[in-house]
Symmetry: C2
Subunit: 351 residues, 2 copies
């Protein structure tokens, strides 16, 4: 990467919105999809950042994603709602779902929304963080096309099935976890291939499920935990059960390939969001003081030599501050795809 493709978050936000609107996506889709991708890019999770724009444009043009979806509540009971996203771009369904979960949590202390007929939603943490920014604890689960073997398994079974949790922390950034339940993301394999490096032990397998470190023969990812991969596989299962079984949507191994060739058929993916109102449990001041003491003690706790102890999200907040100030360098492939999109859609190129 060179500084040739350095730009600002603001300019990327502008470009993404204009691209969505140029292919006929409605304003709500442009807003939600852009917000989620900018979350990824802002926090340094570039795999789930603006590099996804050409993918989403293709899925909107192909018909997999609905350019003018009519999201509606189709079921529920008490503090639970079922939201049909009408094959919206996934961020729209997920943000809308979390808005409803937060509203339910305001009314009932906690609230859950099962989202049906959604699609790839990018960074799971974006929706958990939306709850934390409103003063609530947010949890997001999703499944995705299968890349990850089971413990002792020899087939792609779960997706990288993320779990995200965000907790408001008065006077500071939210405590913020956004983790794949695999050891590593698949794009790490691709990166190591291009760098010609060996992978760490016990993170990826060949087609027989045997651990390999040569990224060129990797066929599937290992669940989190190495020798204790039964824990990572089970956590992937939690995300699967909540996002696919409770929504009646596709299990990971049934989801159509994200990368096509079919860009017409909706992928019938589910997602699950949960919000909790801390004030239903204790006084806000007591909650705030408890979180403060927890994260302050954590950040100041002894580190092993040469290392530093960080709270979940600290690294991401640091990146976000840096990128807000200095901008972002687009990777060459994304820069090239953005230039082609600008030409084709008749919008101003990224400056």
């Amino acid at each position: 990467m060179t500084d040739q493709h350095r730009t600002s978050l603001h300019e990327l936000d502008r470009f993404c919105r204009e691209a969505f609107l140029a292919v006929g996506a409605d304003q709500a889709t442009a807003d939600a999809a852009t917000r989620a991708m900018l979350h990824g890019t802002r926090f340094g999770v570039d795999s789930h950042g603006v590099r996804l724009l050409p993918h989403y444009i293709r899925a909107l043009e192909g018909g997999r994603l609905n350019r003018n979806p009519a999201l509606k509540t189709v079921g529920g009971f008490g503090a639970v709602e079922v939201l049909d996203a009408d094959n919206a771009q996934g961020a729209l369904g997920a943000y809308r779902g979390m808005e409803r979960a937060v509203a339910l949590a305001g009314q009932f202390g906690l609230g859950a929304v099962a989202i049906r007929n959604n699609s790839h939603f990018g960074p799971a943490g974006a929706y958990a963080l939306a709850a934390a920014e409103a003063g609530f604890i947010g949890i997001t689960f999703c499944n995705s096309d299968s890349f990850v073997r089971l413990h002792d398994g020899a087939s792609r079974f779960h997706g990288t099935n993320p779990i995200a949790v965000a907790v408001p922390c008065a006077g500071g950034d939210p405590w913020f976890l956004d983790m794949a339940t695999s050891s590593i993301p698949y794009n790490r394999v691709l990166l190591y291939r291009s760098l010609g490096q060996e992978l760490p032990d016990a993170v990826a397998s060949d087609s027989a499920g045997q651990d390999v470190t040569d990224p060129h023969i990797v066929d599937m990812l290992a669940p989190l935990g190495g020798a204790f991969g039964f824990k990572g596989a089970a956590l992937g299962g939690v995300a699967e059960i909540f996002s696919a079984v409770l929504t009646g949507m596709k299990l990971s191994f049934d989801i159509l390939n994200m990368d096509g060739p079919d860009f017409e058929t909706p992928r019938q993916m589910g997602a699950f969001v949960l919000a909790l109102n801390p004030e239903a449990f204790l006084e806000r001041s007591a909650f705030d003081a408890g979180m403060r003491r927890y994260v302050d003690t954590l950040r100041n706790s002894p580190a092993r030599e040469g290392a530093k102890v960080m709270a979940p999200g600290d690294r991401e907040w640091d990146v976000a501050r840096g990128r807000a100030e200095s901008g972002v360098v687009l990777d060459p492939i994304t820069a090239q795809e953005f230039a082609a999109l600008a030409d084709r859609l008749g919008i101003a190129a990224v400056a």
Copy 2:
């Protein structure tokens, strides 16, 4: 272990109940504590099984635990309740909390209970499973005295902070996860010491937080995930925030030592339970069919050579069936302590 100390689950149940009643614990305490320990012993989680009986007896006699606690709801809002366990033996608070969470989930689709002034509750899975046996999804979080370092940390910070999830599965055993967020439990270190074996890599550290495999110099456990221990540490943090911050109870590093010497002072531990009613999200028949297909596909999926793929809980259900049939062999120390308890409390020894 020899067959000298083989006995039945039924006889252990009888012995535990009589021991609790003999020291003046009320019937509810005897029932709940026995049920939880028998859960551990039945499923082969012997660290959280009947071997805990002498510990609980000591804590009841010392005054740390209340022999006649008056549990009561002291707060809440909507689908949330706050239960004060009045320093009950921890299983009583946790079972009572999950009963309330299930009732709330019946009324609101989901329900959460923050349990205050509880104590060591043994196997987290016992309470999640209680929800699944009632047809609900159950989740349990707890923290505990600190034994586990942070990622790159060099002090005992979190407890082994378990996360348990149980999901009903029509026509079969519940899907059932009960995991410590550390790589291994501390009693595994003790076992390897007594066996004179080296520990696996990256599961435990010396007092400087450096990984060691010699069990004799282990000072703390590593979080789940090895090189990706930031994920395990964050999951431990989820359990910590829900069970300690949301309840206003002690953080792991503030909890008095489980093993004393103080057996008088209540430990002010929190716990958190959540129940969800699948029928609030979709038809029971659709949920049942979805879970069936998920676990059936999982169990029949290709395994790597020489291995077998299992669903979370399968190993435990197998042990439970074996022990129901053939009984259990008590370890020599527990057998000896039980004999001494029988003498001292004037109850019939384990037959």
